[in-house]
Subunit: 411 residues, 4 copies
């Protein structure tokens, strides 16, 4: 087998069956030292067992890395993205996309620290995640060797995988013997489900698919009122209580979960070229997205707000496609971050059975000027006569066009 | 008074107090013949009284135009706009904006037919509607004289208006003596409310403001399932029943109304330069917007879908600002319409207490290819090995950048 | 060797050494029937010898296709692209990019006609052309087998290639024994040179590189005046003489060549990820680009012109990257073509030693309105007082921002 | 006369006849104290006479401000704009547009310093400059009173103006008795000419119009070679000699002037709605624009370069329209400036009779990687096999579309 020569590899390791098989496969195939990296990004699983399992599979203590990245994840990845009001294809809040660059970044940092020459991940060859991992790897360590077992090995059936596991004495949880009816990814921002029973976009997703939220129909029949405080574009407090980024998002997740907020059933276009169907749950993020637009609505200048809206689809596409660590993403971020200097204030919301309703917004930097907009006498703040000239000069090119025979803006 | 000389003016006439005062004021101020034009765009008011009132105010029969424009409105204005998934500032479905060009167009057509040299409208000097009316007028008849009484006259207080009405024997409905607590505009697509009690964006809108929808909290506690059929980008049937454009939208409105769908409380940026707060109800339009994105999700190519998303904010801004009859709007429309050739199929939805949930989508032109996306064996449809080269070439510039010292996409 | 099974392949065949080697290599490697396709796109070479050579190499008469595609090339590819004022990275007129889709299209048409299941081209694995060819192939015949010998074979050195040629009795022109000091691609729109002696971007290109133009320094020291007539966005006549598309471009090429027009020395970004340095000569196209902008300057509405300018980089990128036969390119083209309905008139130019200077433009559809712009008394066509209101409402949001403490548009 | 009450006004004063008349007219009409501000932006006129003239017209010494702003102009306005490669409507380097905000800014600063409540300028009511001045005024001092005499007064004929001058003992230079055949604006970046004899776009501009450049035909018949050094996006040296911003631009102007570089005859679209024809001379700026793109071509990442190209038309439009001091311009600038961190290096150019030809570019931060692009053996730096997967996944959606019946990217 003419595999690239690899000395030491840092594996993104969940502790589950698949990455445990990968661990053994890497040792066997590349004859290399394996370093495991397990991160807590809020996926809702204990990390202890992953450490245990790595030990059990023979990984040396100094090669086992287990880290809680929740605060970094929300502060440096989720919040910057929400400053942009990023949604992919009009709907998707990019919950999986935004987690991959952080995992990749830590893998590379660990690789540098332990002198590894390779990194490996457990993403398949059909999805976006392989792209997100690997573009990040290459951008951070251009000479790294990337191993993507799912694209290389022959363990392409469930049976082959289980056989490999048994042969290598990898413990298999009882409930993993049968195949999961769909595939799940989760972190503090969201949970996504796809594949298998979800593959037909004409079929509604079964309630069993949803893991992070109660359904709107099952949510309590009462309104929950909350207030979110923003500072320079980021949320900093709920109901007046200052919270760290991860704590704040966790709190919003709890609020969203119980009120049936943040479900999305979507057919999206993957970067690798085909359409796929995903079911997403982003309870806290959905609340946050509504609140951020609301605080921006009174604090952002129109020109800035519209420019942000025009740049957003491109920005979201970059993140979806895995270009977080690309210079054009950073260039856009520079513009977006600059826009948030005065996005400070409070938004009050009502949560109710899937709905996030804005009940009020206020800011010390509000650009909403009641005396200009009022139906009451504005005491001369606004001269209505100005509108005539404004309209007439905006109309001038249309009039000249019509005079030249192109009425009604005819092309 | 050095007013422009006017012979005959076509007034956008609602039959209400304000436009009745304008009618008399035009006669008095310009000494001109007044032609009234009253349109049914689905605002939910009888047109008969408007005709009666015009007669009562002395308008000759041949100068009274009353027309039902609902089908034209939905077919030629609302549907083309929804093909673009147009939302202004991320949220507003442009319900008022899209009606003004049609009213203006008919006013100009009538002006041409009756030999009028002027048109007049009842929009104030602070809002967007004056711009939308007048840009349309000028684009369609560049030499027309435009009269905007609210920008010209001295009847700027309620008292002055009522005195003028009394003096000219204009009947005043009892409930119009007092001032309305907010201002309303309505058509088949939506109802908007603004001003007075709504002027403070920190204060929640009172339930009294909502006219088109029950609140999500008051909506029935059961799911309503519907199916919408699309043909080339436009909805053509509900639950299998073919409906004309206006009938279809009216049906969706009824469904949305009873399920608490389509409320929006928004601070938006006006074209004339200030922020304003509006409360919108777009029950049918909200359902339609969700459904249109869903059918596009399986029928549009990714490149086309993303291009549409990038063009959309500009397109929405054009409509909001009143540039429906501008050549750049037509140019964008040419692109948008071209994209819809295969946007045909059925979307199934669940309506529930403010929620519009996609339950399924199918199309004879679906680009969703299950054999490519499947987690099951795809029998070689997709070669996972291709992903490696795809990623490596996408990464090449990032690697070259990192080698040159710009790691992680550093600028 | 586990090559895909191929029955019959259509090869883009120039008659030169490289594609002759490919021809034999295809027969030998795939054991398949080879169909040659040689197109005249105005590269300036006789097609007769290609036919002779194909015969000599044993291709059957019915499998030799030699076609003059110059008119189709200019009419259906070059002119539509020039309607968009397309330039890649601010400078490159896309001369190579635009030719590939046409060659690919004819290859596929021939493949369909002769029942071939594969196509092959002679582009290398490092460049853009392989992408342009293959994206076009796949878009037109999704099940086609694509063979790119340069990515597959082992003939990667000049020596190996010549040995293969000798072994297979492929005649080698004397001047092909040594390697060319740079590589050339040419068609009716342009000639490009790259590689070898041109690889160092710090070194000026030698005069020997230029094949289509005299240098500005060597061009005659007199001005050549010409007039180009446009009709709906396309040039139709020179100096009043109506010409077919290809004849017109050829005429412009002659004019540009002798006046030293259209040279470009560029470092560009390839789609496959690296930068490359090219020397381009686009004599006629450079003249046409200047003339088209000039006729648009008096016939296009501002909104349309600006929208075109904003869409252009994306459109140019699509063509550069090989997405001519992609739906988003067609969607943009629909908008661009719609914009050209009135781009009709005459532009007069002065050509002089590398310069293309506009001397005048006129059109029956001109939107230039002298009475509006004049410094002389305009007799009331334009009311200067309108400007006040126009400015004040455009300034309103800036004033409100400044009042809120953000002076000078501070973010 | 119901003029706004004004106490003290800062007038943008050139010392010429028109602004001298304005000075007197302001005193007479508003009964206010006039402060004159005369700036040297490199227009090529002595400032001493303006001071003398102001004294002569009775302005008190402490109310006369004369300042050399050339360095600030180039450093803080011209160079930031050139970082964006800004051109309006594909051609215009924005020489007039970029000077207005600086003049306005200093007027406001002086107004604050001397306690003035108003500012005045001498721009007409038909042009863009009134907008540029006034938007800047309002953005910097939202409560300022703006006086635009050309929009207010009755001195609309040359005769009336001269009579007013004589009546108020304003000295009239002999050559100002007759009217100039066209109007000129100039600064260190450019000279623009428009109006009168230039109003017919079908007529070529007379040689007399050009003031800053010899014609290409009259330029010397020899090549001038120069080298420009850039640091972080800005030029810092010519031929190795470090120069201040204004000195550098002046040097480039001299080089451009004598080599016939930077002439432009353009029909453009004004913000106020009509088309106008201008003749521009930007000798140094034209050289700089070519050089900046050349240094960017080897130092910018592709994603960044393309994003810049897409944002540029919007950025240029903002500057043209007068929105320099608008937050969305600042937001774009944040992105543009961020992109320039590594735009450092040397560009060698050949100047010849109107041509600016790139002869070489080099940078310590070059991203041009010869070993990747080379036609020679690259020793494995680039794996040509990667291209196959890259193309196949880029093609996948096109293939799926074609399989669904939409061949060739059919919409």
């Amino acid at each position: 087998m003419s595999k690239t020569s690899v000395k030491k590899v840092v594996l993104a390791y969940s502790g589950g069956l698949d990455t445990s098989v990968i661990l053994k496969w890497l040792q066997e195939t590349y004859g290399c030292e394996v370093v495991t990296f397990t991160a807590d990004l809020g996926q809702g699983e204990e990390l202890g067992p992953a450490r245990e399992k790595a030990r059990l599979l023979g990984i040396r203590e100094e090669n086992i890395f287990v880290e809680d990245l929740r605060e970094e994840f929300v502060r440096d990845f989720v919040f910057p993205m929400f400053r942009a009001n990023a949604v992919y294809e009009g709907l998707y809040l990019l919950g999986t996309s935004i987690a991959r660059p952080l995992i990749a970044k830590r893998q590379i940092e660990i690789a540098e620290a332990v002198g590894a020459d390779a990194v490996a991940h457990g993403a398949t060859g059909k999805g976006n995640d392989q792209v997100r991992f690997e573009l990040s790897y290459y951008a951070l360590k251009p000479d790294v060797t990337v191993i993507a077992p799912w694209r290389e090995w022959t363990l392409t059936s469930r049976t082959a995988l289980l056989e490999f596991a048994e042969k290598h004495q990898i413990p298999i949880a009882k409930d993993k013997r049968g195949e999961a009816p769909f595939s799940v990814d989760a972190n503090l921002l969201h949970s996504s489900s796809e594949g298998k029973i979800l593959e037909d976009p004409a079929q509604e997703a079964d309630e069993i698919v949803y893991q992070r939220t109660v359904s709107p129909m099952a949510a309590p029949d009462r309104v929950t009122e909350i207030a979110i405080d923003f500072k320079e574009g980021d949320p900093v407090a709920i109901n007046g209580e200052a919270l760290s980024p991860a704590s704040l998002l966790a709190r919003l997740n709890a609020l969203g979960r119980e009120n049936g907020i943040g479900r999305l059933d979507l057919v999206e276009n993957r970067f690798v070229g085909m359409k796929s169907r995903g079911v997403y749950e982003t309870p806290g993020g959905t609340i946050l997205a509504v609140a951020h637009r609301a605080i921006e609505s009174i604090t952002l200048d129109r020109g800035v707000a519209h420019l942000k809206d025009e740049l957003m689809p491109r920005y979201a596409e970059l993140i979806y496609n895995g270009f977080w660590f690309a210079p054009e993403r950073r260039m856009l971020q520079a513009a977006i971050d600059a826009s948030q200097a005065h996005v400070t204030g409070r938004v009050r919301l009502k949560l109710y059975k899937g709905n996030v309703m804005v009940a009020g917004r206020e800011s010390p930097h509000s650009l909403y000027a009641m005396k200009y907009v009022t139906f009451e006498d504005d005491q001369g703040a606004y001269d209505q006569a100005d509108a005539k000239g404004f309209i007439r000069l905006n109309a001038l090119r249309l009039r000249l066009g019509a005079m030249a025979g192109r009425k009604g803006g005819a092309l």
